[in-house]
Subunit: 742 residues, 2 copies
């Protein structure tokens, strides 16, 4: 996941961080090149000098991360919980930003003479004839109007500014993949309906509520005369989409450490993961829409503009961080006569695009996940963990690339690929590879996350085109608050109508409070900072991220106490959750999972699992007899083994409809003596730092289910316990039971 096409292929004419952008003379009529040799030598020296400078700049980040790691260790060591590592990374980033901004002044050593040559367009590639030889130049981006002639003492700051696409193509994929790969699938699936509601409907609601509120504020600002540039309605909606992506990484880390209720955890985690996917696609759809000229409706113009919009905005348009120019130049076209086309067609169209991109990315991610499962099942690659891990890594990465190549969203595809891999492929891997892949993605996730957060801190000072508008900021904070509220409370009310296992008010308040904004919001907002509106959005987003991560993140523990949500709950003792939910009746939870899920579960257990993994019942037993040869060919020997063992005990592992529903819902069934004992004992070992607990929990959940599944069929109390056929309880995490997964 680490690399991405553009970076890696050396593809993009991005920020000229390597070659010191000494803006050189560009004469219209060429004189003959007797000064070439001299020029070349000095160019080379500059390039070398610049390469060193770059290395030094990247070193700053490495040192920042190192410092963060050491301080995290100190905090963990001392059990400080009020500040999460990401908040810490931001603080360090801020400090370094201050130092770079105010402490260091790089002396000027470049010629800043500019003679400009007027051409009719800005092509991507320029061929310059220098006294008979041709040189190819690539477009780097537009520079601000006044900047060319002014002295640049912001060299250092420009140098520590990354290409925004780096965030999307390098840093986000491992984070998202890890989220999918480490999903607690059992609790996730139990609450899937609510999660989907929060993630899809909630995000769309939040996006529109925030967009409308911001439009109100912006209109008011225009009246007051506080607006320094254009701000369209689509900009407001875009802001809503960007700011709706929640990232409660801080909160979840604390939840994990304090062992807060699993359902609350599942709701928050699931929402935030799917949330990101929705926000990405929403914002890219809005961008696409805008670029096709749909932004005319309701444009809040700054006073006195009538020309093409892109020429507006005056001298303050410092287009600093915008590398991906061709896209963003196109963002503003003359606001023509299609002013009212937004409401009708555009809405429908954008919905279509949304569905298309989402389902495409989903299908692609699942498809590659399934392919990896098949490959790892039918080859005996598990004898060579290195090869297996490499294959797993490459296939996951290729999902991202394939999605991008097909025009879908790579990040979303990677999310579903991660979930599929965890559900199927993981079972086929050797124990060694299971550890390796988990650790690899854990590390990548850790590095990428802390990098983004420390970069965020740095950006507050290093970004040179901040537009801090107090009114807009106040408006944004209000809008974010109301948007989150409009997401959580009404949806919870509606969900509680259908849900037997109610979501209590204390849960709702915590979910409201835990709507932090993080890496995804930042990446979305830094993607395009070409215009006044985008710059204002970016600056405001940065402040919102800071506030939520520090205040909401830091206040999680007090909040939990205040809301009287018990901590230290055993993640596997499921009946504990029901005691906290208002008015839930244990018996009724049986019907929590709707019939589509029962059908899906049966299908998954009877056909997909046996087809894609070594576990489950053999296909020869589940498929009709006519498919016999095919079934024999596709079933792995282990499956027969499983079946044989179960038949010896006169039990039938193939679950009927009733047992399925109880497996999803009936939470008390596992509290018989031997089962709960096993779970309790092992879970004490799994309560370590953040993500390890998660993995443990996954493994334990399966174990529990396996035991329960066997017990369900043999419900005659006179019979002896049949758990003897299953592997012995004391060694759950790294042995065979992993394969018997739900």
């Amino acid at each position: 996941m680490g690399f991405t096409p553009r970076r890696f292929l050396g593809v993009k004419p991005s920020k000229a961080l390597l070659l010191l952008p000494f803006l050189l003379t560009f004469l219209l009529v060429g004189s003959q090149g007797e000064s070439n040799a001299m020029d070349n030598v000095s160019t080379e020296r500059l390039a070398e000098e610049s390469h060193r400078q770059d290395s030094a700049n990247l070193l700053i980040f490495i040192m920042l991360l190192t410092l963060t790691i050491l301080t995290i260790w100190l905090f963990k060591h001392r059990r400080f919980r009020f500040l999460h590592e990401t908040g810490l990374a931001m603080i360090y980033g801020l400090l370094v930003g201050v130092i770079l901004r105010f402490g260091i002044h790089v002396p000027q050593n470049m010629s800043d003479v500019i003679l400009s040559c007027a051409v009719n367009a800005s092509p991507a590639t320029l061929l310059v004839n220098v006294s008979g030889r041709f040189y190819e130049y690539t477009l780097k981006g537009e520079v601000s109007r006044g900047k060319g002639l002014q002295v640049q003492d912001d060299e250092m700051l420009r140098k520590v500014t990354f290409d925004p696409e780096v965030f999307f193509n390098i840093l986000l994929p491992p984070i998202i993949f890890h989220a999918g790969y480490s999903l607690k699938r059992r609790h996730f699936f139990r609450n899937i309906g609510s999660i989907l509601a929060y993630a899809f409907m909630g995000t769309v609601i939040s996006c529109f509520v925030i967009g409308l509120i911001m439009y109100g504020f912006v209109s008011f600002m225009k009246v007051v005369g506080q607006l320094g540039g254009d701000f369209f309605f689509t900009d407001c909606l875009l802001f809503g989409a960007i700011i709706s992506a929640t990232d409660p990484v801080t909160v979840l880390a604390i939840f994990n450490e304090l062992k807060v209720d699993v359902d609350l955890y599942a709701l928050l985690f699931g929402e935030s993961v799917l949330n990101d996917a929705v926000a990405i696609i929403l914002s890219s759809v809005l961008l696409r829409l805008e670029k096709q000229g749909g932004q005319g409706a309701g444009a809040v113009r700054s006073p006195g503009d009538d020309g093409p919009v892109w020429a507006e905005g005056g001298e303050e348009w410092l287009v600093e961080n915008q590398t991906w120019t061709p896209r963003s130049i196109a963002a503003y076209q003359p606001a023509g006569d299609n002013s009212h086309s937004f409401e009708a067609m555009a809405m429908l169209k954008s919905f279509g695009i949304f569905l298309g991109v989402f389902s495409g990315s989903f299908a692609l991610g699942v498809a590659t996940g399934v392919m990896t499962a098949l490959v790892t099942k039918f080859t005996k690659l598990r004898d060579f963990p290195l090869l297996e891990t490499a294959l797993f890594f490459l296939m996951s990465w290729s999902t991202f690339l394939l999605a991008e190549a097909c025009g879908f969203t790579g990040v979303v595809a990677v999310l579903f690929c991660g979930i599929t891999q965890a559900h199927y492929t993981f079972n086929n891997l050797s124990p060694d590879s299971q550890d390796r892949t988990k650790q690899l993605f854990e590390l990548l996730n850790f590095l990428a996350e802390n990098f983004i957060f420390s970069y965020m801190g740095l950006t507050l000072f290093s970004f040179q085109s901040h537009v801090f508008n107090p009114m807009f900021i106040v408006g944004a904070f209000v809008a974010v608050f109301l948007g989150r509220a409009a997401n959580i409370y009404p949806l919870s009310f509606l969900l509680n109508l259908g849900r037997k296992n109610k979501i209590g008010y204390n849960f709702q308040h915590v979910m409201m409070f835990a709507g932090l904004r993080g890496a995804m919001t930042f990446a979305l907002s830094i993607r395009d900072t070409a215009t006044y509106a985008r710059q204002m959005m970016f600056s405001t987003t940065l402040l919102i991220v800071f506030f939520t991560v520090w205040v909401c993140g830091g206040g999680t523990t007090p909040m939990l106490t205040f809301m009287s949500i018990p901590v230290g709950v055993d993640a596997n003792q499921d009946n504990s959750s029901s005691t906290m939910l208002d008015g839930s009746q244990r018996r009724n939870t049986k019907h929590e999972s709707a019939w589509p899920f029962k059908i899906w579960y049966n299908f998954d257990h009877n056909y997909l699992k046996p087809l894609l993994t070594h576990s489950g019942p053999p296909l020869t037993a589940t498929l009709p007899t006519c498919c016999g040869p095919l079934a024999r060919c596709l079933t792995s020997p282990q499956a027969y083994e499983n079946e044989g063992r179960l038949h010896d005990d006169d039990s039938d592992f193939i679950l009927n409809d009733a047992s399925v529903s109880s497996m999803f819902a009936d939470v008390t069934i596992s509290t018989d003596a031997s089962g709960s004992h096993t779970v309790n004992r092992s879970s004490t070992t799994g309560g370590g730092p953040s993500d390890e607990g998660l993995d443990h929990e996954l493994a334990l959940a399966e174990h529990e289910v396996a035991i329960r599944g066997t017990r369900l069929v043999l419900d005659d109390p006179a019979e002896p316990p049949t758990t003897v056929t299953l592997p012995p309880p004391p060694s759950p995490p790294r042995s065979e039971p992993r394969r018997h997964r739900l």
Copy 2:
């Protein structure tokens, strides 16, 4: 190690693979921009299209690697040994190259009109005034003279061509670090003298022999009229330096699998690792020298040139793969009057630069390694393996960046950092982190290596400026053969004069045969392909790599049989090695390690180890009494523990001079009953696929030394064996004995 500054900071104006280089109109006098909106939209669409294309191209490589992995698995499964995975990767690369070259024709959809504007220089950055807005352009490279006007149907091939710096900055560092990190230190240090001789003197000899032979060939070619461009003496030397970097990865993999003699393994491995460092620095010194105008001496000019050299060469100079233009443009300046300055000053100067760069890189690598050791020792980071692994990774990466920032060679610094990390830091890591770091770098190494080799195969067809000159190729093969011979045989003769443990003729022949050329040679030769000479060198290098990897790599097993070198030797039964060495007398090997090594060993064991790790004797015991408080402060509690345990047994772990030399040399001492039994038993588990065996061996070697160290002092045969104080033998790899490392 994965990322590097330029790529990562989005730094370099590299190949315009993102924006389809539709070579657009470039008018001298600008017309006003009414067509801007149209232009921008089409530019944007092109850019998006191109992004997809890029993803697809990178997908080709991922698929290539996936295919390679699956085939490797098949080969390992069936125990085919005649073709190593790298050879396989090359074959797949070749096939894809053929398909891309001859199978796919991308339709033309770009405008190829060029109107050129003559300017007086080729600045790194160009500011173009497009109807009032400024666009920044960065230099991409010079294009061939005729190419601008001709139709480009080689788009696809250009797209799969990487920036050469990617190899140096992204792909090589993990390979080199892994080499250092997985070095078998005991056998390495036992043969350190010979290894240094082969690596330093041998590489320099080889470089000059090859350079001289090639100069002869080139001069002859000029007479015959076979030379199509210039070829200077420094080019010949550069070729010698490039082609002298051996990379016996194939051979060593087979050695590992067949369990060939450890000394032979150590010699080959050590030579090839240090070799790379020498070749890098040699070639960069030569390049620097050349660029400063020292190439005048003995220039073999093509007929009829008298102007500035860079303007020569005619139409066939297709400067395709040259991105890093400012450097390579400067490579050829007018060959002025400093024609005879090479021999005297330049030689001395280059030697000075060589020493400076080498020692600087060495010091830097060691320094960061030591720093990591100190950090991991004095923090209790080992409680959090994830943090520990992340820190380790970041510190190792920062070595590379720091070296580049200081103007040293990052790859060399990373090598010594790896060795230092393995020697000190590794002991301080938690067992979990030890596994994680090893697995991480193993994976990175595997991916990078296979990527480079498959790219090599691809390059044979995708690179568009090949110059295959039959005479030059024949000459190069002869020169490579003779250069290797001039390295191995005379040096072995000289070394055998001083070595008691002689290097037999069969060993010499195998070393001669195992001089494969691989990743490093390729990276060095693709770094600069600007001129006719460099292109010829590159094409020839490619052929040499193919030949050596396939023929020499494939012929390793027959060669071993032919040379009657026994296979299946237990790596830890050291006496086996002495039986194979001509005329070695076991008693005399005691003095094999020279006195500097004894001093070093004592210093390392008494001061450095206790200071930097948790093992070794406490500093309070080894430092003079006046340093008492300091010593107490620096010694870790574990060290006292170790001391206490050893004192209980009346043994003294602090080794005197005699025991040190026997530890280095006396190979039979461990063949007492309990010791060899332990080792034998465990080593059978360690004889798996390539690198795992290596790690096992390292762990076992330590174990053995620990046992032996105790035995040495208690050499009274009447006493009972004292190994009871050491952890029980059956669990060597993951327990305490790791810390008692030599």
